[in-house]
């Protein structure tokens, strides 16, 4: 199938972290590839190829999605928030602050995805139970922390956001 080399590209408009991006993309381009390659936002990571690990989690119109499991064209017209969009005027988001304070990361590779899954959880439920926390990040694999300090971070983030 050599014709794939000259496949027709599709124009899309996506707002990422408040900034509009108009790009011509191949239909097969994944949303995560769009963010990393077309927008140069490399904070969003890829850890698997079967929607298991959630390192690629971003917010699409406020909802956490795995950007490796969506085509860029599906994001046409939507608003995306990546990890780079969490801080405000250089100040860490309360969730970012809580993860730092609680040692909720080690290598930091899964962290962007975890921050955004946490964002969705706490937007809906600022005081989640243990079970709700576990369920909310069931799709975010962390290989370093053993999750204990991630759980602490999420509870701390809930408290931070209430106080904010």
């Amino acid at each position: 199938m050599p014709e794939t080399a000259t496949v027709e590209k599709i124009a899309i408009n996506v707002k990422v972290n408040g900034k509009p991006y108009s790009r011509q993309v191949e239909p097969r381009m994944l949303l995560v590839e769009f963010l990393r390659e077309a927008c140069d936002l490399t904070g969003t990571h890829v850890g698997c190829d079967t929607t298991y690990c959630g390192a690629c989690t971003v917010l699409m119109n406020g909802l956490a999605v795995k950007s490796c499991t969506m085509f860029a064209v599906q994001a046409d017209g939507s608003e995306i928030t990546t990890v780079e969009g969490l801080e405000k005027d250089g100040k860490l988001h309360p969730i970012q602050q809580a993860f730092g304070d609680s040692y909720g990361l080690q290598c930091g590779y899964c962290t962007p995805g975890l921050l955004l899954s946490t964002h969705q959880l706490l937007s809906e439920n600022p005081e989640p139970s243990e079970k709700e926390i576990r369920k909310a990040i069931a799709g975010n694999t962390c290989r370093c922390t053993g999750y204990m300090n991630v759980f602490k971070a999420i509870r701390q983030a809930g408290r931070n956001m209430k106080g904010a």
Binding site: P2, T4, D49, T50, V83, C107, M148, N149, F151
Partner: protein, 828 residues
């Protein structure tokens, strides 16, 4: 609810003794990682970059009849292709560490004449974009002639189908460790316990970031530049230099942030080779390879799989183990690569935490048609420690002693440290009975025993298990000479540099490549104490770079050693810098060195003369050396304020014939207790309670240590219950995606309650002991707890991996009488 960390300093402040070492300082690495501004290799874009994709063998064992890359090369956007034959024509096979016949193995980074495991690279394509490389890889036509696969190490020993014909056998290495008087111990034993077969399964700690390499080899320059996430670059370049015929000092390796390694990324040098060769063929354009998760699962590296045969244990009438004899057969996969080092590394913990003096272990390693193994967190020691813990539990059960009591009777006594093991290793410090006491207290041992007894009356299967483990750190490379007397390695070393930069900034560089262990933070803590300044006033360089002049031939991040080798180097460099600063300041401030006080003044970090109150800040000191040097007096001409220090461990080469000598500098220990229930209907094992107690001597940063304990525990719990690299009978890997392999998630992890004791090491400057690997305590602990739950059903846990399916099968086979007698007790 979740467990809270006990008595740990949560805020940023000095510890009780007024030092930064020992305080839970927030990590310096955090800010960039939290903002999504970490720099991982795949984040790097270079001019004219090209992208490489491998074509891999679908067969575990097959002759390669032909490789046709013409259609791929015809695809617009394809830069070049490269085949195994081309690689072999341009390179030397990788060095083999094994001696004798195994030296003849011809290991290339791609299959040449035949493929020896499913997923072995056969060809590679290089294109202008990753997706074009994907398309082109599909156009490569490879014709195979399948051969008989070998997927089990005992089957491999029969040599019916041989992987490496040039070696003539699948057996890579055999050695016998024999100490004491084994025969006499068995003659005098009150009990002898025989265990037919035990098996430690294959798994991998699967870092979330896969292997990534950017290689650039400008054919005009004869220099190679790598940006990659290899976690032991000093080792990788030794393999690459001989193989690519490039002088080792002309290979530059840079790492930056690394998304986990756990040892697995040590063995990415074959892919590094292909990226360099492809770059050369592409006229020197940089070639980037980003491993997919499936590629990682089938072809990066797995942990060692090991079978324990014909184990015999001699015990006296009190249940003290007096001798162990066994045959161990290790499966290293298709190519030895880092092996057979595991064949000796196990013996760092030859007697585990126990006192027995007589032992005979015959250790053999074979190849098989599976993914090559590589060092995986707890490398080679965890298999052996699991074996010893299984022995202790099974023997305790057979002679009717409680497992906690059995351990107390057999542990090395606290007053015996430093303890010399039968094979000459020196355990620096430890207090195993105390760890047991703390762990029992944390879990509520007596309470659980009552609950267990009540539950058993209702027919519920609840088990309580103890796992004791060791994390031997800072290895003596001299042990390589036990597997190959000609291996040119011994000792251990690490380099660091500490300087006042041109205008006075304190800058530290060290030859490690951290992957989340917080090296920047703990290095700053150490230097802050030396100079009596705040750690925020210290910059620690991120990642590794052969052009930083701080690496030795052993630099990297592996073998639970940064706190010893890395921080000793940092500490040494900081002391050298401090001495120079003192000489300079004494001259400038016209006073004696012992009149000087290091601290922070109104103009930042400074040195003050106590007698006069005059001070000079770091900018002032650096200024004299770097931009105002005419004022330097003749006796200060050697002051550079740029101090390099190489730390070397005080090791000797072991006695190769006797396999005797000190193989590791420090021995951290952990003791875990788990309570597990096996569901009567579904057979799903569920952890009801879990505690982990560690002892790594003096702690530099308590929250970092706690995090390492949790992380290692999660790997062990995952490995014990969920994670296995499963193969079918013809060598197809059955767990080649995360969805099949199922790494442990937030819904599977039990609440881990953490405890800590400290027995300082007498062998390190700080009293700290390396602790990153964790010793895989959960694997031992969960096997023990399942054993306790299932002894009543006549089941012996003889495999390190247990899930609902395997437990169900064991119970059904037992009921049906199909389970052969696995354990036999002889009473004398």
């Amino acid at each position: 609810m979740f467990a809270e960390a006990p008595n740990i300093v949560a805020e940023e402040k000095k510890n009780g003794s007024g030092r930064w070492v020992g305080a839970s300082l927030p990590r310096k690495e955090e800010d960039r990682l939290l903002r999504g501004r970490g720099k991982f290799v795949d984040d790097i874009k270079l001019r004219e970059m090209t992208y490489l994709r491998f074509v891999r063998s679908p067969y575990a064992h097959a002759r390669i009849v032909s490789v046709d890359t013409s259609a791929a090369e015809a695809l617009p956007g394809v830069v070049c292709t490269i085949t195994g034959k081309e690689v072999a024509a341009q390179t030397q096979p990788f060095i083999e560490i094994a001696p004798d016949h195994a030296q003849k193995i011809r290991d290339f980074p791609m299959a040449v004449e035949k493929a020896r495991y499913q997923g072995e690279p056969v060809a590679a394509v290089v294109a202008e974009s990753p997706s074009l490389a994907d398309d082109a890889a599909e156009l490569v036509q490879v014709e195979y002639e399948p051969l008989e696969p070998v997927v089990d190490s005992e089957q491999a020993l029969l040599d019916k189908s041989i992987l490496h014909e040039e070696a003539g056998t699948n057996r890579i290495w055999t050695g016998i460790w024999e100490f004491g008087d084994v025969e006499k111990a068995f003659q005098e034993a009150a009990y002898v316990v025989n265990i037919d077969r035990m098996h430690f399964h294959r798994f991998s700690s699967t870092p979330l970031e896969t292997n990534v390499v950017i290689g650039q080899w400008d054919p005009k320059e004869d220099r190679i530049h790598y940006w990659c996430n290899n976690s032991f670059p000093a080792f990788a370049i030794q393999f690459l230099a001989a193989h690519l015929a490039v002088h080792i000092d002309r290979i530059r390796v840079q790492t930056s942030d690394i998304g986990g390694s756990f040892g697995i990324k040590i063995t990415s040098y074959p892919q590094m080779s292909v990226c360099a060769l492809a770059s050369k063929k592409a006229g020197g354009r940089p070639v980037k390879w980003v491993e997919t998760r499936s590629e990682h699962m089938i072809s990066s590296a797995h942990g060692n799989e090991r079978t324990f045969r014909d184990t015999r244990v001699a015990l006296d009438k009190n249940g003290e183990i007096t001798a162990i004899a066994s045959r161990h057969i290790d499966d290293c996969g298709a190519y030895p690569r880092y092996e057979p080092l595991g064949c000796v590394i196990y013996s760092q913990v030859f007697c585990g935490t126990y006192r027995f003096k007589n032992a005979r272990i015959e250790f053999t390693q074979t190849v098989s048609n599976k993914c090559p193994v590589g060092p995986n967190r707890g490398y080679s020691r965890m298999q052996h420690l699991w074996f010893l813990e299984r022995i202790v539990d099974i023997c305790a059960h057979e002679i009717g002693i409680a497992p906690d009591e059995m351990r107390l009777r057999n542990y090395i006594r606290t007053e015996e440290f430093p303890y010399t093991t039968p094979n000459g290793c020196v355990y620096d410090s430890g207090n195993y009975p105390k760890m047991l006491e703390v762990a029992k207290g944390l879990i509520g041992w007596d309470d659980w025993k009552k609950k267990q007894a009540d539950a058993r009356k209702q027919g519920r299967m609840i088990g309580i298990g103890i796992g004791t483990t060791l994390d031997s750190g800072t290895n003596n490379f001299g042990q390589s000479q036990i597997v190959n007397p000609n291996a040119p390695f011994s000792g251990n070393s690490q380099g660091a540099n500490c300087k006042l930069d041109i205008y006075g900034e304190v800058v530290v560089a060290v030859g490690s490549c951290p992957q989340g262990q917080g090296h920047e933070t703990v290095s700053a803590q150490v230097v802050a104490d030396v100079l009596n300044i705040h750690p925020d006033m210290i910059t620690v360089r991120t990642g590794f770079d052969t052009e930083r002049n701080v690496h030795t031939g052993m630099s990297g991040t592996y073998a639970s050693q940064f706190v010893v080798s890395g921080l000793s180097a940092v500490h040494g460099a900081a002391q050298k810098l401090k001495a120079e600063m003192k000489r300079l300041a004494a001259s400038v401030l016209e006073t004696k060195e012992d009149d000087l006080e290091f601290g922070v003044g109104q103009q930042g970090p400074e040195i003050k003369a106590k007698s006069t109150g005059k001070s000079i800040n770091y900018w002032g000191l650096a200024n004299i050396v770097n931009v105002n040097s005419a004022v330097l007096t003749p006796e200060l001409q050697d002051v550079t304020l740029n101090c390099r220090y190489i730390w070397r461990a005080n090791f000797k080469v072991p006695d190769k014939a006797k396999k005797y000598g000190n193989l590791t500098l420090t021995y951290s220990s952990q003791l875990h207790i788990a309570v597990i229930e096996v569901d009567r209907d579904t057979f799903v094992p569920k952890i009801l309670d879990y505690v982990a107690v560690d002892d790594c001597g003096v702690v530099i940063n308590p929250r970092i240590v706690e995090g390492q304990v949790y992380g290692a525990a999660a790997h062990g719990i995952g490995a014990a219950l969920m994670e296995t690299c499963a193969y079918d009978a013809v060598g197809n890997m059955l767990t080649s995606t995360f969805s099949d392999y199922t790494p442990i998630t937030a819904v599977n992890i039990p609440n881990i309650r953490y405890g800590h004791i400290s027995t300082p090491s007498p062998f390190t400057y700080s009293g700290a002991k390396g602790m990153g690997e964790g010793g895989a305590a959960p694997i031992h602990t969960i096997s023990a707890a399942l054993q306790d739950a299932l002894f009543a059903q006549g089941i012996f846990i003889n495999n390190s991996f247990n899930n609902a399916d395997s437990i169900f099968r064991s119970l059904k086979y037992r009921e049906g009488g199909q389970l052969a007698e696995q354990v036999r007790l002889e009473k004398r």
